[in-house]
């Protein structure tokens, strides 16, 4: 017993000291870490639904949906937080929809692990082509030139799969949640 104590007291003391150190750091930083995580979502919502003053969080069919209203209480748009499978791992994105849920007002990918340099272009300007597309019928992914009137988006060269996965998630949102938005106003 004495031998055990002689050899291991330092480990135990260090264990306690380190645990306190970690707990201290956690209490200091956790608020900021959570704020960072929330901010990514906030920024995305602001990007896909322009010009709202307040938002309210709802749950529709298992998805988090943000009802965005202006100063006079008028609904200016909806932001749907959606996750679906991607090429490498899950893709999480926010889809902006018009007040009647019939038009897409924006798309922002907030979490993905797609291939750097190819698939991860979904994070950038590429997603802007979803803007103004019709949410009442499925979006079609084409290679090369697209026709917005036919609800088409053009795939990223070399990352057709990533483009497909994003389109699938968006179509799923517009099909399941789009029609239910008008009645929530």
């Amino acid at each position: 017993m004495r031998k055990f104590v002689a050899e291991s007291w330092l480990v135990l003391v260090l264990g306690v000291v380190f645990a306190c150190l970690l707990a201290g750091t956690q209490t200091q930083l956790s608020a900021k870490i959570q704020a960072n995580q929330a901010k990514a979502l906030e920024n995305a919502i602001a990007e896909v639904v322009p010009g709202f003053d307040e938002k309210e969080q709802l749950e529709i069919d298992g998805n988090r949906v943000f009802k965005c209203v202006d100063g006079s209480g008028q609904v200016v748009g909806w932001a749907v937080d959606a996750t679906g499978s991607g090429f490498i791992d899950k893709i999480r994105l926010v889809v902006g929809l018009s007040p009647d849920g019939a038009t897409i007002t924006g798309l922002k990918v907030i979490e993905d692990l797609e291939t750097p340099g190819l698939g991860n272009k979904i994070e950038g300007e590429w997603a802007d082509q979803y803007e103004t597309l019709d949410a009442t019928r499925p979006i079609v992914r084409v290679k090369g030139e697209r026709h917005a009137a036919d609800n088409e988006i053009s795939a990223i060269t070399g990352a057709t799969y990533s483009s497909d996965y994003v389109t699938d998630i968006v179509n799923d949102v517009t099909r399941r949640i789009g029609p239910k938005l008008a009645e929530q106003q």
């Binding site: 002689a6 050899e7 291991s8 330092l10 480990v11 260090l14 264990g15 380190f18 150190l21 970690l22 750091t25 956690q26 930083l29 956790s30 900021k32 870490i33 960072n36 995580q37 901010k39 990514a40 979490e111 692990l113 291939t115 750097p116 340099g117 190819l118 060269t157 070399g158």
Partner: protein, 211 residues
């Protein structure tokens, strides 16, 4: 190798050049390959490892007369894991975007052999000042190696350096950038070539500078 002899500055310089942990000792390869697809990731990873190796060497060196030989590995691991957790939380609080890109490779600093190796070889038997000199040397050497790889891969793969375009726009727009450099194979290939170049330079130095 400068373990034991020479000044503190020699100990520091050895870590950066003649005994560079990545390019000469071939330690800590996982993060070297994984996070060097951009210079920014490489620099942040280097800074995090430097912080952990400095703290681990400092604590080990301070306690070197108290640590029982039996439990030393346990104590090293405990110390390293603690400071890695702190580094991880700090990154998530202050550099959220980069920490998301580094992902699991921040907690994986725990099993970076460079750190435990410095505790075992230097900190457990040397004074605090010497251990610190060693830790800063190793940290800087590691950061430098990662940055070299990051520069090569980011320029060839994306045509940028620290996200600023450095190659003509046509390079990327016409699809001439070597996407393979940002993907996993590019990491292996670049490191293989860099290690070859370093070996070549070292053997030239050893034979008196004549190729």
């Amino acid at each position: 190798m400068a373990d034991g002899n020479g000044s503190n500055f020699d100990q520091f310089a050895a870590g950066v050049f003649s005994n560079n942990p990545v390019l000469v000792q071939l330690l800590g390869m996982c993060p070297t390959l994984a996070v060097t697809n951009s210079v920014e990731n490489a620099l942040v990873m280097g800074a995090a490892v430097t912080f952990v190796v400095v703290m681990s060497n400092l604590i080990t060196s301070l306690l070197r007369n108290l640590i029982q030989p039996h439990v030393r590995i346990l104590i090293f691991t405990l110390t390293i894991a603690t400071f890695v957790t702190i580094a991880d939380m700090a990154l998530r609080a202050y550099m959220f975007d980069v920490s998301k890109k580094l992902g699991a490779f921040v907690p994986l600093i725990i099993v970076n052999c460079i750190i435990i190796c410095r505790a075992e070889v230097v900190a457990i038997k040397c004074s605090v000042s010497r251990s610190l000199a060693d830790a800063f040397g190793m940290g800087l050497g590691f950061t430098m190696a990662l940055t070299i790889l990051g520069i090569v891969r980011e320029i060839l793969g994306a045509g940028t350096l620290l996200k600023q375009p450095v190659l003509p726009a046509a390079f990327v727009e016409n699809g001439h950038n070597w996407v393979i450099m940002i993907l996993p194979p590019g990491a292996f290939l670049t490191l293989g070539v860099v290690v070859g170049v370093v070996n070549h330079l070292r053997s030239r130095k050893a034979t008196g500078g004549v190729a």
